[in-house]
């Protein structure tokens, strides 16, 4: 193997450590656990969207040969409730069915064949209830409620923010543009569907190995819902086969726990099939948005009015937080002095809206970035020019009225775009369109917050150990769901300790071994854990050097340098092997734990307490500008993205390859969202339950992407970096929509941008002009 993993400078490519096993099929994911004596567990899903539960008939299934047990809510000893913010989702339904994916019963069987048969034998007696499926209408419905105990009826959370003169400022504008927008659900479509493996050992310890982004939070949820002592629950989180927010919170953890409690000593396994995953899992919220944007003649944006409705389905999951982040970003990266922003996130009987990479921001970006283009057009300004005149600079107020205090590279991103050949040569490229094709170029500018916001502590606890054989071992509490943060941690530690990467070991998240460090989400994993790890690594280095200095009676630790595997005393040239030194250190010197909590905004202006609880305002933001070359087939209406450019300010770079992976992946998901992906639900029933109806792009449907990084130094970040995992997801939909508008002079207000919608809009335009 010629791959060089020895150079551990920050900013250099270090090939990903996890790839070595993954590429050989040797990495063991949660879904890969298997043993001869294991028990298969399956879930009976409701299949109907809204009903009062009367009776669950399990006798037939229970008596089937090969069935070990059939469990219902009666077998749940704890609260039977789970949820990240509001505990409103039952482990197994006890009173009401609130969506088709609700878990009603659990079957334990000796093999998959018996399991399938048993599940089909369970019958549910229920009384159907009226369906609540339109979020905007459900707000005022006081009679039909998803949760009778919710104080705000069907409204999970409503947020409003007013700045400046609010709507009164529209009278001061020279022009005002209004439009409404709709976006559908987006499904994560991680390739590894929800899976896990659990066992209750003879000491009463329940160990759950599961594909999750949040092992420590899962542990509390499992304990509470099932009525267990938290000390008796252990969660192990291997690498995920993709997650993207969809495994932020409970998927199968409590069900696995419940099953394992029933058969002590025996391993149980759940692995959802694709259809069940699509039916039961959370989605990116479908939304309806109403926008009104006013500007002055000089191109300055002056007033913004926003109302939007996010459909969160039957359970909170993270719906309130998603809505709040949408609200915070609803005016984009622009300085708009007068705003009136209102958001609602609403319970319905549709699939659950929850966390999904970029978390509520793609929806508002679709709207806002088209609004900006519409204003530009009316003012006869180029889309780039209007953005350059309005994007925020450090110290400016963002649309929610708080001050941008982090490094702010959006102007840099746009200036690079301005000088880029793809921008400069766009007119010529458009003119060269082949027959029956029209070409357009669209851009978008975006900001995206990092971390949890002002109230929920955004912390990490890094632990690092000098092992008995002289290597360094990182105990990592944050999951790697595929994004490669693990590798960055190893790179950071190796750099500080001046070691070959091969001298660094890593323990994956395990609630018994590693320390609570929050979720793998919110573009915060490398930032938060990285900062904790830097502190821990530096401290450990100091301990080791101090110990050596004391041992050989050196003047100070400045006389030493650490090199791979050893320490050199510079004045004498003597070297000391780490595997020898380690013998002189006791555990409290060999093992260092450091806590880090991310800084938060101290501003209290215009943000009510509930919104603060749900994460507004943030302190640190990343920025991007995007550009899409789109080509439309005039006869089919189909859009093809021919070239894509992304310019990112996510601070300094730790590993350029891993950063580019995040950029590519986010754009690919964004392009899927822009052109293909539409999770269709009718009357609470999902219609797109496989990869032939819910279509994600293949290798033949995506362009090569060019990515450029601005690399501004973010002073609070580890080595000057800030979050990069989500932001690029936001750009493709508006950039492509703006490209379509540029090519055809039509606006598409509803995504995805299908050929049918484009042909329809062209037809309407033709009819209008006649």
């Amino acid at each position: 193997m010629k791959l060089d993993r020895k150079i551990v400078e920050i900013g250099r490519i270090i090939p990903r450590i996890d790839a070595f096993n993954k590429v050989r099929g040797l990495e063991k994911y949660a879904s890969d656990y298997h043993s001869k004596d294991m028990i298969w567990v399956g879930v009976k899903r409701a299949g109907i969207p809204h009903a009062r539960l009367k009776k669950i008939k399990i006798d037939k299934a229970k008596h089937l040969k090969g069935v070990i047990d059939v469990l219902t809510h009666k077998d749940v000893k704890g609260t039977n409730r789970q949820g990240v913010v509001r505990k409103d989702q039952p482990v197994l339904v006890d009173d009401k069915i609130r969506y088709a994916g609700d878990a009603v019963a659990l079957v334990l069987a000796k093999d998959k064949k018996v399991l399938m048969h048993a599940l089909s034998l369970i019958a549910i007696d229920y009384e159907p209830l009226p369906l609540i499926f339109d979020a905007e209408k459900a707000i005022n419905d006081k009679k039909n409620l998803v949760h009778e105990d919710n104080p705000d009826g069907n409204v999970l959370l409503h947020g409003k923010i007013e700045t400046g003169k609010g709507n009164k400022a529209f009278s001061e504008c020279d022009l005002v543009v209004e439009a409404s927008f709709e976006v559908p659900y987006q499904e994560h479509a991680y390739l590894e569907t929800e899976a896990g493996w659990a066992i209750l050992d003879s000491d009463g310890m329940l160990t759950i190995t599961v594909s999750t982004q949040t092992p420590f939070r899962d542990r509390s949820e499992v304990a509470e819902a099932l009525g267990l002592d938290i000390k008796k629950v252990r969660i192990i989180a291997p690498y995920c086969g993709g997650a993207f927010g969809g495994k932020d919170g409970i998927t199968v953890q409590t069900l696995l726990g419940l099953a394992a409690l029933t058969v002590p000593g025996k391993p149980v396994k759940i692995w959802l099939n694709r259809e069940e995953s699509f039916i039961s899992s959370v989605k990116r919220h479908q939304a309806r948005l109403y926008y009104k944007l006013g500007a002055k003649k000089d191109g300055k944006l002056h007033a913004l009015d926003v109302r939007f409705f996010y459909d969160t389905g039957p359970y909170d999951h993270l719906g309130g937080v998603v809505m709040a982040l949408g609200l915070e970003h609803s005016g984009g990266p622009y300085h708009i002095p007068n705003t009136n922003l209102k958001g609602w996130v609403v319970y319905t009987n549709n699939p659950i809206g929850g966390a999904f990479r970029a978390f509520g921001v793609p929806q508002v970006t679709f709207a806002m970035e088209q609004m900006v283009d519409m204003v530009a057009k009316r003012l006869n300004l180029s889309p780039l020019e209007i953005r350059l005149r309005n994007v925020i600079k450090k110290g400016d107020k963002i649309p929610i009225g708080t001050t941008m205090l982090s490094s702010t590279g959006i102007t840099d991103c746009l200036n690079i775009l301005k000088q880029h050949p793809l921008w400069k040569e766009r007119e010529r490229w458009k003119r060269d369109a082949p027959i029956f094709k029209k070409r357009g170029v669209g851009i978008a500018s975006i900001m995206h917050a990092m971390g949890y916001g002002p109230v929920v502590p955004d912390y990490a606890n890094a632990k690092i150990e000098l092992t008995e054989d002289g290597k360094f071992r990182i105990f990592c509490g944050v999951v790697d769901m595929g994004q490669g943060n693990i590798n960055s941690y190893m790179q950071i530690a190796a750099n500080i300790l001046n070691q070959d990467i091969d001298n660094i070991e890593l323990i994956l998240p395990d609630t018994e071994k590693t320390l609570s460090s929050g979720s793998s989400s919110a573009s915060r994993t490398t930032y938060t854990f990285g900062n904790a790890l830097i502190d821990a690594s530096k401290t450990l280095k100091e301990y080791i050097l101090n110990r050596v200095a004391d041992l050989i009676m050196a003047k100070s630790i400045d006389e030493f340098t650490m090199v791979p595997g050893k320490i050199i005393h510079l004045p004498t040239g003597k070297s000391f092997l780490l595997k020898e030194i380690t013998k002189f250190l006791n555990d409290s010197e060999r093992i260092v734990t450091k806590h880090y909590r991310a800084p938060v905004s101290k501003e209290l202006v215009s943000i009510d307490e509930r919104l603060r609880l749900h994460g507004i305002p943030h302190l640190i933001f990343s920025f991007v500008s995007h550009l899409a070359y789109v080509e439309i087939d005039e006869l089919t209406g189909e859009v093809e993205v021919k070239k894509y450019l992304s310019i990112t300010d996510s601070g300094k770079i730790i590993n350029p390859q891993i950063l580019e992976q995040q950029i590519h992946g986010a754009i690919a998901q964004g392009l899927g969202y822009a052109i293909y992906e539409d999770f269709v639900v009718e009357d609470g029933k999902a219609k797109t339950l496989d990869f032939s109806t819910y279509i994600i792009p293949t290798a033949m449907d995506l362009p090569d992407i060019e990515s450029i990084n601005v690399e501004l130094h973010e002073s609070s970040g580890p080595f000057g970096m800030k979050g990069a995992g989500e932001i690029n997801t936001n750009g493709p939909l508006p950039a492509v929509a703006n490209g379509v508008a540029d090519a055809l002079d039509i606006r598409i207000f509803r995504s995805p941008l299908t050929g049918e919608r484009i042909l329809m809009a062209l037809k309407e335009k033709k009819e209008m002009s006649n």
Partner: protein, 329 residues
């Protein structure tokens, strides 16, 4: 997803296979590549008691030709058909159709007989047991309702095979065998036109060979397929065109066939009248496209609205004819 239980048969000669077909009359389901049948079994749409794999019957594999005809064994893989230089040179539409099916691994598995004999599909039918639970069975599932066209008296499922339109454009035939006898029919007669049971093959018969007459003179052909992605997807509309011309560039014969436009491939019979004896000009192509548009039977039962798919019939018919013309060397 698991498969329901069945018994497995694996004859190694055609004679054995035909004997088994007779013996298990109606209970033995032939299994070719499995790429279409096994997903249907997983969805619980079909429950064969016996599954008879044809994979080990080597006499059913391979492409041969003589002066007049091309012979493709029923178990020949779509990949082999796609990669055959003979087909690329002389039967372009067939090669293009084979190359447009799904993606490489599926083309390695899928066979020409399996592709031809695939079942019709519908958004409301090709769904799992979980999805269909609580709904009355539709016509195709043996019931008497249609969810695609509420109130209708028949099944509106769609034939989405890629190969059939291209083969029909070349006037291809199929050999159908049963124990002791064999018959050859034009491919269009393989289709009943009924969504409930689209393929007309008796319970004891097997489709063993595809026979394509080698056209004389100067000709071209093309298969154009409309789908959302550039890979994997079934056609939402497709069109195959065959065009033979004389030395003065006047059309000697023309055949245009639509796919995914009803429960069977649709032959646009008007094409012959419109183009025969004339030069290929835009107005005539438009006229054929219009005839195709009228013949296409579209309802809202696939991934896109029927009205849009129907519009695409015009577009893809034109593209197929133009490409066929341009492929004439």
């Amino acid at each position: 997803m698991r498969l329901p239980s069945f018994n497995y048969l694996e004859p190694i000669t055609l004679t054995d296979a035909l004997n088994l077909m007779e013996e298990y009359h109606g209970r033995a389901q032939p299994l070719a590549g499995g790429t279409e049948l096994l997903p249907r079994m997983k969805l619980g749409l079909t429950h064969p008691t016996y599954l008879m794999s044809l994979k080990e019957i080597h006499e059913l594999k391979g492409i041969k030709s003589n002066k007049n005809e091309l012979y493709i064994g029923g178990m020949t893989s779509l990949r082999e058909i796609f990669l055959s230089t003979l087909l690329q040179q002389k039967f372009l539409a067939i090669s293009e159709a084979a190359g447009s099916v799904a993606a490489p691994p599926l083309r390695n598995m899928g066979t020409i007989a399996g592709n031809l004999c695939q079942d019709t599909r519908c958004f409301f039918y090709n769904q799992s047991y979980f999805w269909r639970r609580g709904l009355k069975p539709c016509f195709k599932a043996g019931g008497n309702v249609c969810y695609a066209v509420p109130g209708s008296k028949k099944c509106f499922s769609v034939y989405q095979g890629d190969l059939a339109p291209a083969l029909i454009a070349f006037n291809a035939k199929v050999r159908i065998e049963k124990k002791g006898s064999s018959r050859i029919i034009p491919i269009e007669e393989l289709f009943s036109g009924k969504g409930e049971k689209p393929i007309v093959i008796a319970d004891d018969e097997l489709l063993t060979q595809v026979i394509v007459p080698i056209p004389e003179g100067i000709y071209g052909s093309s298969y154009r397929k409309f789908r959302l992605r550039n890979a994997l997807d079934y056609p939402l509309v497709s069109a195959a065109a065959f065009l033979a011309i004389d030395s003065e560039k006047k059309v000697k014969s023309v055949k245009v066939v639509l796919g995914a436009a009803g429960p069977a491939p649709v032959i646009v019979k008007e094409a012959e009248d419109i183009l025969k004896g004339k030069k290929v000009e835009e107005s005539a192509i438009n006229e054929i496209a219009e005839a195709a548009y009228k013949r296409a039977q579209m309802v809202d039962n696939l991934g896109l609205p029927a009205s849009y798919r129907k519009k695409m019939v015009r577009v893809f018919t034109k593209r197929a004819i133009e490409n066929a013309f341009n492929s004439i060397k």
